[in-house]
């Protein structure tokens, strides 16, 4: 009944014939599902409700090779998007240093000035009390950055 089409298409397909657009949509949907699962209380298993019909299409559409390729591409990139975001959140959540006073040292990567007169500095390659820090640090201090200082 429905097909997503572009000008010049002749086949009655229901999947988008643009591989990059399908790939991007799959990555975005996968990452979106992961976000919903991690932060909105939606269980990861709900993704199956979405993926099962696609999987069935993959099985039944083996003879329509192009449709099957697109469904496979979507499923694979959906997994990449979902897994990628899950890994990133896992890695971000692991903050090894506790709150406290440290001797800090780092490379200035970015300098900006906030509206209330504070300078905001992004430090990379940071060490705290001589130990390597597991992430970057934003530092606030009172200073003017005008005139390129």
């Amino acid at each position: 009944m429905f097909r997503v089409h572009k000008e010049g298409d002749t086949e009655e397909d229901f999947v988008n014939l643009r591989p990059f657009a399908v790939g991007a949509a799959a990555l975005a949907t996968g990452a979106g599902f992961c976000y919903a699962a991690l932060f909105c209380g939606v269980h990861f298993l709900y993704a199956l409700l979405f993926l099962l019909p696609l999987g069935m299409i993959l099985v039944f559409a083996r003879r329509k090779r192009r449709a099957a390729v697109y469904v496979f591409l979507f499923l694979a990139l959906f997994g990449v998007g979902m897994g990628g975001l899950a890994l990133r959140m896992e890695s971000y959540g692991a903050q090894q240093f506790r709150e406290g006073e440290y001797a800090l040292s780092g490379e200035i990567s970015e300098l900006t000035e906030t509206e209330d007169g504070y300078a905001r500095v992004l430090l990379t390659d940071v060490s705290a009390d001589g130990r390597e820090l597991d992430g970057n640090v934003t530092v606030y201090f009172y200073a003017s950055l005008k005139n390129g200082e």
């Binding site: 097909r3 990628g84 709150e99 406290g100 201090f141 390129g148």
Partner: protein, 526 residues
Amino acid sequence: MRISFTGDLSPAGSALRYGVFRADMVLGNIKYTATCSASPVYEGAGGDLFTAVRTGIRGALYGSLPEEEAALAYALTTGYTDGIEEGLMESVRYGGVAHVFAVSGMHIGVFYGALAFLLKKMRAPKWLSVPLPLVAAFLFCGVCGFSSSAMRAFLTCAATAVCTLIGIRRDGIEAAGFACGVILLADPVYLLSLGFQLSAAAYIAIVALAPAAEKCFSPLSRRVPLLRKPLSAVAVTLAVQLCLLPVMLNAFGYVSVWGILLNLAALPLFTFYFPFLLAGVLLACLFPAAASVILFLPAAALSLFALFFRAADFSSLLVKGFSFGFAAAVAFYLLLLLWSGRVNARGQTASALACFLAAFVFVSGLLTNYVPPQTCRVVQMCYYGDYCCALVQTENADVLLVNGEVSSSRLQTFLFLHGAAPDAVVILSDTANAVAGSLLFTDFRVAYVPSDVTLSLRDRETVSADAFSVDGVDYVFRPSGQLFLSYAGVTGVFNGTAASADFSLFAAEPRDGLIFTIERGILSVS
């Protein structure tokens, strides 16, 4: 350049805070914040190439232009808007043209297009005229901090350039798919970044939705051929605004109606102005002694821009007061997809589907913004730890709680975002008069402060009391500086110590229903 200092280090905590996903923190791998408690020691010089270029541009602009013009020019060329005065920035946002300061696809497109045009005029060979603008655009992205919108635009240009080079037909949607796919493969967190969402939605609107919008005007443009181009521009602007509607409402709480009109003027003006500004800034960096002369005309244009936006009030025509829920947003985009004509549904099927989706958007949006009877919901925000606001919404009243000194523009954004018009405000800080001053733009009828604080407001009722009740919620100021709230037998604490506004006690997600319970000293949301 390295910096060493002694300071207080704090872990940044969860990526989701107060219901807002901090994509910039995750993308930058910023896991900690620190404050500097002793004078820092600097070692070495310079930094990476792009930081050095930005520093050079900042120096040339601030050294030769008045502060406001320098801040505007710096924002236009690098995307860093920190120096722009908040009132002016707010007016620009209400006018719907803040994207000119975001180094968006428009900047990269104009930059790439101007260079490609120049090389074409110089009759440069294809092997040079295609990659050279791309390399230059990539370096420009670096100066802009490789922001997601700039990179999206760069990759779109790259895809288009490759198509030109190998001689295949260009396809806007595929170029968008390629750009978004590469960015999401590099880091899926970009999906949650506002810059990426706005940039991708705007570009997809231009390539996929604008032709359908243009069709709506075709009867008129056929009758009056002179109107064809202006109507085409209106269609593009309209398509972009429609596509951005859910994202903008979710992020800022409003969409500018003026934006449709102002963008019609802003886009051609910007396309003409931006290459000249960039060339001027480049020359100013190379010849700092002559910078003020070189930048005289671009700065004069920026002065006019600032004057215009300061004089005008664009806040009167905003679409605001509600937000899309997730389901309504998805249905809204499906509706746009149907309208774009890229789904093969015709006649009654298309009409039925459109009606269903429209009804779904309406009902789902209504439910998202509805506070059911006998419930109380709490939303909140914070900013740099200096202040905290909470909004207590019940069936008949919205009550705004404020702790710390908060600017009126931040408050306005907060209230827009939640579609709230507070009937009462509760001020916890000891600078109540100053805080109340920044609240006067709202139509609140009564302000509550602790009994030992005197508040004088013209035309508004003020109540100094330690306990009071608004629409079934009981509020009690405690001597510790905290505010206790009780509703339906459940008590929550809004911590109002002036020294440190501790917001963590209100861990409720925005728009969560009731609310807060304390067990064994730990606040949990139910």
